[in-house]
Symmetry: C2
Subunit: 151 residues, 2 copies
């Protein structure tokens, strides 16, 4: 059997998630792509940075905005290994990202297809296209292993 290959940005996001786990952070990675080029990468880092907002998505969005020198990321896509939480979904809206690709869904903390469902609110100012599932087994396995080892 040949398993369908993951798109490169999701492979990179999974590598970043692995690096997060190695650093003692919850393994979540994120990548921002514009015109086929990776312009920002980040992994979860709230412990190292002592910053509760330092989720992979927020860090990648901030790095992408800094790289482009602009507040809005029109024309950019975000690839992330886990369904974004309310904070990160809100940041995606403010950044005006075109598309969001996430691997594993998150019934507990997710706010895209669960909980606050940020993009589905009638008042939501910007709705990215959302695609999920690519790499979900790999992403979920990283999280399971991380939490099992810490129990």
């Amino acid at each position: 059997m040949t398993r369908w290959p993951l798109p490169d940005p999701m492979k990179l996001a999974l590598e970043l998630a692995r690096a997060a786990a190695g650093a003692g952070e919850v393994p979540i990675g994120a990548v921002v792509v514009k015109d086929g080029q990776v312009i920002a990468t980040a992994h979860n880092a709230p412990r190292a940075q002592r910053d509760p907002t330092a989720h992979a998505e927020v860090l990648a969005i901030r790095a992408a905005a800094a790289a482009l020198g602009q507040e809005r990321l029109d024309g950019c896509d975000l690839w992330v290994t886990l369904e974004p939480c309310a904070m990160c979904a809100g940041a995606i809206v403010h950044a005006r990202l075109d598309r969001v690709y996430y691997a594993a869904s998150d019934a507990k903390g997710g706010a895209v297809e669960h909980g606050a469902r940020v993009f589905e609110q009638p008042t939501c100012l910007h709705r990215p296209e959302v695609y999920s599932g690519m790499g979900e087994a790999e992403a979920a396995d990283l999280l399971r292993t991380f939490f099992r080892e810490r129990r």
Copy 2:
């Protein structure tokens, strides 16, 4: 008639909102208080910082975490001039703030009593006490004036 005086942290948040307007940013200010002491202040700054996540609340939370050298703001309260959006409400949850005081409500962008209602989600990991309305006329007037002058 004597108008009931605003608590000092809300007065300070309103001053920060005024400073934001003076800098060409949407006038919203935020203050973090611990044990009666102001440990962080910020105003909205996404334009100046070219960062879509640079809302007053996120900046104040990050500054407070940096000041305390810890990821979580247990025992801290946030005072902000406008109802937090989904991103900021999510950041408040992750920061584990004890209490949130906000002045004006925001039917369009708010996510506390409107829209995503982040703290009311069954999956919400931490629910701060929330108090609203103190200084709402002042906060709303700052916003109205700001947007009227730019129309």
